[in-house]
């Protein structure tokens, strides 16, 4: 998230949310933890910075990845101290490396701290790890929780950007852009997290054991809560995409509009058809709601009288569906484990 892309209302709201969480976590850490947590949090936060400078090559691709932070902090320190540490890392990043900026800091703390520490860690990591630790469980837990944490964070970025209205990116396009990218990032993050966690667990099991011994969160009810949360996200996504923009589906609309006016010569037409052909090839959901009626509409006519647009809804749902698919995979994995 960046300052340039948000409105004061969104920035302020997220600031308030993150500040509230920081206050709450500070109180929790102060009341519940022993004194040793304070230097531990500080030094582990610095470790995240240092670890981000160590890269590894991603198998099969030419690129390299590194540790992001949120998930491993939650695993090592627990949700409250983990959240505070992640927030402090983001504060330093925003001030020194200008990552995001000060107004977007609230958004960034929420997206990168809240979701890994308070959703992915208690509902996924702890659940998959269960009561008895094993290499496989730790691996699966790290991967799944990192993916889900980043998917939710990315979805949150989309919502914040769309609500701010500084960019023209419609909700559905942005969701389709962000979620798959963050699926890849989530897998890389999961791999890095699991590699480090597994090493630490083998070398000094007490560090990992110490954090995961407090009774795991109640099994079934928590999964219901989590799936409910996802369902809410999907429903909101589907409904909000109707209202995401008053002039929906900009690219196609503008292509039609320029093509529809008489002044343009035939040479232009080729470009437009090429463009729309290319767009159809690129787009996952080329079947947009109002496309068939394009040719009859005069240039200045309002696009659609009703706000509800089926094409948009469908594509808006895809973003949520991607996340839901992950949840489904997770549920499947959990069920298999239970049967064993």
């Amino acid at each position: 998230m960046a300052d340039a892309l948000i409105s004061p209302a969104v920035g302020g709201t997220m600031w308030a949310a993150s500040a509230g969480l920081i206050g709450y976590c500070s109180k929790k850490v102060k009341d519940d933890m022993d004194d040793v947590t304070i230097p531990l949090m500080g030094v582990v936060g610095a470790f995240i910075f240092a670890a981000q400078m160590i890269n590894f090559t991603i198998p099969g691709t030419g690129s390299s990845g590194h540790l992001g932070g949120g998930m491993i902090l939650a695993i090592l320190l627990g949700p409250y101290a983990g959240f505070l540490t992640m927030a402090s890392v983001l504060v330093v990043q925003s001030l020194f490396f200008a990552d995001g900026g000060l107004m977007a800091l609230g958004c960034n703390i929420f997206n990168l701290g809240f979701f890994p520490c308070f959703i992915a860690y208690p509902f996924i990591f702890k659940y998959v790890v269960g009561t008895t630790l094993s290499e496989k469980r730790l691996f699966a837990a790290a991967i799944f929780s990192a993916i889900v944490g980043l998917q939710l964070g990315a979805f949150s970025v989309v919502l914040q950007t769309v609500f701010s209205g500084v960019t023209e990116l419609p909700f559905d396009t942005f969701v389709l852009l962000m979620q798959p990218i963050h699926l890849a990032i989530g897998i890389v993050e999961g791999l890095a997290t699991s590699a480090v966690v597994l090493f630490v667990w083998k070398a000094r099991p007490e560090i990992i054991n110490a954090v995961s011994t407090p009774a795991p969160v109640g099994n079934l009810s928590m999964r219901k809560v989590f799936i409910g949360f996802l369902a809410a996200a999907v429903v909101t996504g589907g409904v909000l995409s109707w209202f995401a923009s008053s002039n929906p589906d900009g690219l196609e609309w503008s292509i039609f509009k320029t093509a529809g006016t008489d002044e343009l010569g035939s040479s232009h037409k080729g470009v437009h058809t090429d463009l729309s052909n290319a767009q159809e090839k690129i787009a996952l959901l080329p079947d947009y709601g109002f496309k068939s009626s394009n040719t009859e509409l005069p240039a200045e006519a309002p696009i659609s009288e009703s706000v509800v647009d089926t094409g948009k809804t469908v594509s808006g749902l895809v973003g949520g569906a991607l996340t839901l698919l992950l949840a489904g995979l997770l549920g499947f994995a959990l069920k298999r484990r239970k049967k064993k």
Binding site: D3, G45, L102, T167
Partner: protein, 289 residues
């Protein structure tokens, strides 16, 4: 062996070597910001709270403009330029940092011209679409807000910002966390840099950079980090740490600070209400007529 590696490195640029150079630069960079903030100028001597609050007012007013606004945003450059000039901050360095972090805003903003193609302004027969206008607006906002954040830290220093946060009511645990983090970033980043260099010097053409090496490498760093935390904790206990953190606060919010904060904030709000370049333009045009 060393000779062979050196030879290799010259013939085909090794990714590890590039990594190393980048790493050292990154590390050096945090230290440079710290050096800048240790100067003694009138701006550096202001109470950090004044600079923090003023910068927040600045950023809020800048991002509150409509998405097609360009001209009214221009006068806002006066604040970061003033801070940078008074605070003796090298402008080229700041611009380089800005360019380094611009890709995200550019990537998202570049969709505006593609999507919003309604002609908004006509300049000598050439129509400029709303998308381009709002894209330029996004870029200006980005430069202003990020520039303000960077100059703030360069003329204030991180520890002073933390003290301002503490005085302004941020939970003490979080403030202490920030101070701790900042203190040990230098130590641990140096350690990580040495580890990466050691890895590059012992491998060829990107070997050893896979996930199999990565886990133990970072894992060891983590274990050392946790041992360090234990030693720090014992050292703190030896010096009388009882769970309560005390911060020495020689801060003073005097008339200069009040003047700085109120003066600049008033200017930001005035520039928000009146479009200064448009006013100036109409005055000049009226004068010519």
């Amino acid at each position: 062996m060393v000779g062979v590696h050196g030879f290799n490195g010259y013939v085909c640029p090794d990714r590890n070597a590039v990594d190393m150079a980048k790493l050292d630069k990154h590390f050096f960079d945090i230290g440079y910001m710290d050096t800048l903030s240790a100067q003694q100028t009138p701006i550096h001597q202001l109470d950090p709270r004044a600079k923090l609050i003023t910068s927040l007012v600045f950023i809020t007013t800048v991002i509150s403009f409509g998405k097609y606004e360009i001209s009214a945003l221009i006068p806002y450059f006066v604040y970061p330029v003033f801070l940078g000039a008074m605070g003796n901050i090298p402008p080229v360095y700041l611009l380089k940092k800005l360019l380094l972090v611009s890709p995200f805003a550019v990537m998202i903003g570049i969709f505006n011209p593609l999507i919003d193609r309604d002609i908004l302004i006509s300049l000598g027969g050439i129509g400029i679409s709303g998308g381009w206008v709002s894209f330029v607006s996004v870029l200006i906002r980005f430069t202003l807000t990020v520039g303000a954040a960077l100059t703030l830290i360069a003329v204030t220093g991180f520890n002073a910002v933390c003290m301002a946060l503490d005085k302004l009511g941020t939970p003490r645990v979080f403030v202490v966390q920030l101070i701790f983090l900042y203190r040990y970033v230098f130590v641990l980043v140096g350690e990580a840099a040495r580890m990466v260099r050691a890895r590059s010097l012992r491998t060829f053409e990107g070997g050893g950079s896979g996930i199999k090496t990565y886990g133990p490498l970072v894992g060891h760093l983590l274990l050392r980090t946790m041992d360090r935390a234990q030693r720090i904790y014992m050292a703190m206990c030896c010096r009388g740490f009882d769970g309560e953190i005390r911060i020495l606060k020689p801060l003073r919010f005097g008339p200069r600070e009040i003047g700085f904060t109120v003066g600049w904030s008033a200017l930001f709000i005035l520039m928000r209400i009146y479009n200064v370049p448009a006013l100036m333009g109409s005055v000049i045009v009226g004068f010519i007529k």
